[in-house]
Symmetry: D2
Subunit: 345 residues, 4 copies
């Protein structure tokens, strides 16, 4: 039984615990908090009653070094760097659910996150934790940067098409719609029930932090700098991200080829379900699960490819993917603890 | 045109402005804030763009004395007392939407609100602002204590039956279900979208502050101390309170009499709609309006009377009723500015 | 007092009645139904109790001819044509809230709606009911085709820019997000609470009926055939449409010019609010009102213009706009009955 | 591996499949439908993609007899009787999720369900499927009547107190609040998104079909006829039932005793969590799981006991409890396939 620590006590930490409760080769042995030190985690999150008797404690990196094979860092940006610097040399594998190791370009990080990156040299070692793309590297890495919730939904449908030269690398539109849990657990005006319920709005238009992360990975796939416009929207629901992508079919490519590229790429992937022609994904079908569903519509007349993906932002968009990465890093079956169907309705 | 001031900038203040925008004999001339001083109110609440160009200012009681005929105090408890003490002698009529003047018993106030009441002598002057019960007194008063949102929904169905001796005054159950706007605009864990959406719970069981307010008014109606159990529940919706009341039919009384008492009491009341036999109220039917709907079910076999009422907690439960009180105090038509239908769906 | 009839008893009919209740120069004098014949409309829609005592009746065009100055046709497509053919010659002005007279091209109508158009000759007479664009024509017309809910949100932001040559006429993306009331009142799997709540999905991808309507009007504005991709999404909320539009800045144009074009166009329009730089619209700010809010973001680097609009699909997207059209047709003040603020929260 | 059949394809059938997918000793081998014959179940319910490749077929009782150890009947009332009559003699154990075998009194059944009961003699054999109360009998039975969703939430908190003589058996109030999935999958006006969202209402006041079921079991517990008033309410959420119960403390009983009775009764029950003093249950804590949480508040002054329970209506209120019953009937571990935490948020 592998032993893992969790640093942080927000929604992603809670979902790590929910999923690890059904994992038979890894268990959470400690959880670190700042606000809830001394409280049982099932008092903070009573849905975990009977599934975890851990008590929140103040950060104690020696404890992790002594007891844990791996650690999940579920923290606001900036906080993971020093912890990873401390734990990696001690042989503790790190999966960072935050943003600190996702961007390869420290300057870009600093301009978007408005803090100095304390360890830019670690950015090259860190592997971007999208198993369907970087599985090989993840299996050999000590430090995985779990992708943001939006990037997963944008990259998985687009990267294979860019790599195969099926769509133009310029003028791509990524229009995402997310549930509110992505905004985190801390009460804010923007997550107040009455401020969110019965409304939809765009936010971070033109400057959302997940923009450069998506662009980085799409550019790697395309082998050239990709120009892309990313607009997230807030939807009155707890979980789920739907991403609607518009790209122009490259001349010579057609609808069948587009479908074939994606089906071939994901045929053997447990967590990616490419939907049949005419079926578009729905966030409700992946609710609570680690799946990402992808729908494809090509309009050959206008030359537009519309890709739609759906995932649960706390699972494939965060904690589920983090466990998937852990499984790969530690050599377990990749879907351990994650073979659960979505919950409907 | 009467000139009124608004002290506070929470949800009830916003709904006062929405409703006053359609009032042709009273207008809001100033609004006082602590957090938004200097900002236009339609920047704080953009739904008011085009309807109010007021700018939030720091409290200035001289301004009110000089410019306002009346003032709405939409503040947390404790803050209205000193303001009312200042304004009343200057001839400014006060409608307090907070809790400071509702309870006649200062000690009870102090035990529930955990602060000292600074002006217990004013409690007798203050009129409990339920026009359907205290219209006469309101019309002559300078200081009206606008009822809490829950009490309005409990008192209007029950008071006439207690007064007429139709139901037992002991063992009454008031089970209320409220939308989230009743919790106010300040972000809290308990009003976080993800903490509320897709769930229902009871809160304040056995000790909610509206309990003694309901008990006070029911006791006045019954002419004896009423024993009542009040349990509020939080429902994932913005607006609305449904109150389900259980009372025992007094021996000798029957279903027809119960209905007749309520129908007679409210026949000429614009804002109270007693629904026909077999129809139960729905919060959606009063959404955004100043109506309260009442449904009646008597089970003569078990001797139980079930009363259900529905209102919009921000309108008949707060701002609408406050304007209704203002209209009465200043001698205007009682439903000025309030002749609006609910919005459905 | 102008007398109007309403044909249909769905959500748009209900909102016509809600709004007409506050209109002091026009009143609804009859309502026609198929499913609710003989029932009072306030029994079908209890939120209208006290605001309408009309009884639903079977279609009776003579009654309309004798009693009504104008009629609102709020019917499924195909049903308005014969009624309009009957009423127009009798001098009854018609505002059709359905799709029968929106497309100028009868063949396009027939291919999208899969029925034969019974009166293609009327398509030229019918005026597309967007007052901000066709006010002049509407004022002289007998037959107005009230736009679909999505088209209003797409055309108002885009048309002036296309007309002014600010954006490319090809490759425009219109990504819309709508509340569920747009799907109508009839229970369907797609509007079942549990099928909609806590999820978001795209639908009608590549073939939604509002696509050609948008394209038609954008092409008129551009003076050339516009190529556009329209994707609607269903959001778990009752009312509201948010439309996110992506267009390429034409070379030579810049952000300031774009803003100026829209601000100039809509400066004197009561119902169009162009938001200041940095502010993006929110459906909650227009909830229940006839406003459309427009936000503008230009990314000069990527050459992309992002326009976001918000409206209430049942008001500016249907019944409110219909009343606005009626006001113009009959020479009343254009905002009669529509000077109401949105309801928030 | 036990083989089970599922008759019906509504929400409870879907949740049976979701839960059985994680059950390692029982598997669903066939599913019967009327509306979806010939369609794969994961096309009807795409959240099951990868978890079931069953195809819906027309009812075929021979197939069940030949292949199944047990069957779940997830059907509207009236339809289970003939199927059970056919399957039981062939040795197939039946868990009926419908209402046909719950009431011991056929006349009561007939008066509430308005059909003739075709096999009243089977009512005595059928065991009411509340394992925490009838475990022993269930383990020996062939036919289990899975309780209604509301009864589970009312009986588990109340029965031990009635049995122990802690509360009066007369005048009990059961005020329940349910999510919409309890109304089933078939689109109806009462489950239309826009008819439900942003509202709460009581329904079936005084005559809901679960009333006599609750009364029957409470009377068994009390050893005398219990008089109880049951009022369900519809809450805008997918899943969950909160039940607020009001009962009078019997003279001589006190708060501590009440708590002790419930804690003792449920100490060793995996699925019942009696919450500590001061904590009240929340439907979100049991979302998707088979737990029922119970909170207790005694007001000794007024002599009122308030019990609040929370469960997921599709799990402990239907499919989860059905699997729990199956596990007991077939001698498996009782919580097989059900050791899953609630999903939060």
């Amino acid at each position: 039984m592998y032993k893992v620590g969790i640093v942080g006590d927000g929604y992603t930490a809670a979902d790590l615990l929910r999923l690890l409760a059904g994992h038979d080769e890894a268990e959470a042995v400690c959880i670190f908090s700042t606000e809830n030190i001394g409280r049982r985690i099932d008092e903070v999150y009573p849905h975990l009653m009977g599934f975890s008797d851990l008590k929140c404690q103040a950060g104690d990196w020696n404890l992790i070094k002594n007891e844990c094979d791996a650690v999940f860092l579920a923290l606001p940006h900036g906080l993971s760097v020093p912890i990873a610097m401390e734990l990696l040399p001690a042989g503790v594998r790190c999966v960072d659910l935050g943003a600190d190791f996702r961007l390869k370009d420290a300057l870009l990080y600093e301009s978007y996150y408005e803090i100095t990156h304390e360890a830019p040299h670690m950015l090259q070692e860190a592997v971007f934790g999208l198993p369907e793309i970087y599985r090989e590297k993840i299996s050999k890495s000590r430090l995985v940067a779990n992708p943001g919730c939006f990037p997963t939904g944008a990259i998985l449908p687009l990267a294979p098409l860019l790599e195969a030269g099926m769509v133009e690398s310029q003028g791509i539109i990524v229009d995402s719609k997310t549930g509110v849990s992505g905004a985190g657990k801390t009460p804010k005006a923007s997550s107040h029930f009455c401020g969110v319920n019965e409304g939809i709005r765009a936010y971070g238009v033109g400057n959302h932090r997940h923009g450069p992360e998506i662009a980085q990975e799409l550019s790697f796939a395309a082998g050239e700098k990709v120009k892309m416009t990313f607009t997230p929207h807030l939807v009155p629901m707890n979980r789920g991200i739907l991403t609607t992508i518009y790209a122009r079919l490259r001349s010579g490519a057609d609808a069948l080829q587009v479908r074939k590229v994606l089906e071939n790429k994901y045929r053997d992937e447990y967590f990616v379900r490419v939907l049949p022609q005419g079926v578009m994904p729905y966030t409700k079908w992946v609710n609570g699960s680690n799946f990402i569903d992808i729908g494809i519509h090509c309009d050959e007349e206008s030359g537009m490819v519309i890709l739609v993906s759906a995932l649960d932002n706390l699972v494939k968009g965060a904690s589920g993917q983090a466990i998937q990465n852990l499984n790969i890093m530690l050599g377990m079956e990749e879907n351990k603890g994650l073979k659960i169907a979505g919950m409907y309705p």
